[in-house]
Symmetry: C2
Subunit: 226 residues, 2 copies
């Protein structure tokens, strides 16, 4: 039932977060460091696009505003991931980035970066790949939103979290979510009540243990099989 790229097991998965040598090399160019406290915004929609950011510690969500004032979460970002690439499109940010906890980011001026591109061969390849990877990630998420039921969505979400956390050296089976049920719901196209209930279901099936934001995965395979 799952698109194969949602599963964390496969070696090369397009849904993979953009952590890797690409980002590492880009990170080495990063300069300014800044603290962002919980709830603070890094940038807003329509803000002039100037910087690309990398999460140094903590985590962020990206949101898009709906016309009625509500906001939908479009992605979560954790340590080592980049923010702000959506601004390349037309020089303005298309989303808002908010810290989910007290965080630190480093900053890289896009103008600087394009200069570097001409001197340091390969830099713009890296950047291009990173942006393109974002496309692939959103496409994956479109599949999640467009063809999975609530249980499958939440399972996919947990697997994704697990994969990204373990890629950062944390446990793949036990972790602490930084986001509320409402934010998860918004991200998955569900209500917060449904998220809560679905956590309950997964727990009843002995696939995970959930205590508020603390998650223990009992069976990765089981989750993937959902």
């Amino acid at each position: 039932m799952f698109p194969d790229f949602v599963q964390p097991t496969s070696e090369r998965t397009p849904c993979m977060t953009h952590t890797g040598s690409d980002t590492a090399r880009l990170l080495s160019l990063m300069a300014g460091r800044r603290k962002i406290s919980q709830g603070e915004s890094l940038y807003h929609e329509h803000d002039h696009f100037q910087f690309i950011y990398a999460v140094q510690s903590g985590s962020f969500k990206s949101t898009l505003a709906l016309a009625d004032g509500f906001e939908q979460v479009s992605s979560f970002h954790m340590v080592g991931e980049l923010l702000g690439l959506d601004g390349v499109a037309d020089g303005r940010h298309a989303s808002r980035a908010v810290a989910l906890e007290d965080s630190e980011i480093s900053t890289l001026s896009y103008a600087q970066l394009t200069e570097l591109s001409s001197t340091i061969c390969g830099v713009h390849h890296i950047l291009m790949r990173l942006i393109s990877r974002e496309i692939v990630r959103s496409h994956c998420h479109m599949v999640v939103l467009g063809s999975l039921n609530s249980t499958q969505r939440l399972a996919a979400f947990l697997l994704n979290q697990s994969e990204r956390l373990s890629a950062r050296g944390y446990s793949a089976l036990e972790f602490h979510l930084k986001m509320t049920r409402g934010e998860i719901g918004s991200f998955l196209g569900l209500t917060l009540e449904t998220v809560s209930r679905t956590f309950g279901e997964l727990q009843d099936q002995r696939l995970v243990q959930v205590k508020r934001r603390h998650i223990v995965i009992a069976s990765l395979d089981g989750l993937a099989r959902v």
Copy 2:
């Protein structure tokens, strides 16, 4: 209820298709031309990424395969739009592109393009912007999939079609869809029956006239207000 960027009226809309001076300049570099007949694939998932394609005539859909063999439509492409940019991410295509009708495409080798980037200043800016714009587009579609009901989704779809067609000099109010109900449904995260029924509703509300694939929009504003 609509995210403002779903509406076709606003002047600068991030959901805007990537037709514009950027594409135009890129198109001028395009070389080979090829015919693709209806149902034929331009590339498949996991194909080695080598070319970027521009639709010269006809139209295409991009699909992602689910693990169970089904495919979800992730986007539609019409004349002047680019295909294949998802392959930049890791050198392999993440989606499949299929012609919705007998079509023609022109081809641009990505390797060639990156060479050009170093000589012709600005080429890689263009490419970067185009890729980034794809991100913004997918984010918009995530909002559609994550927070709109069937009527709103279909209205957004029709407005999008209308906008893109009128940008190409066709009528904004009367056009012929190239895709089946099933394909629309897959794209919008609905079943084909729901698409059909929802077309009926919109017709009952005198917002559009629908006869199979022939669409006449009675009120763009009405659709946008849905």
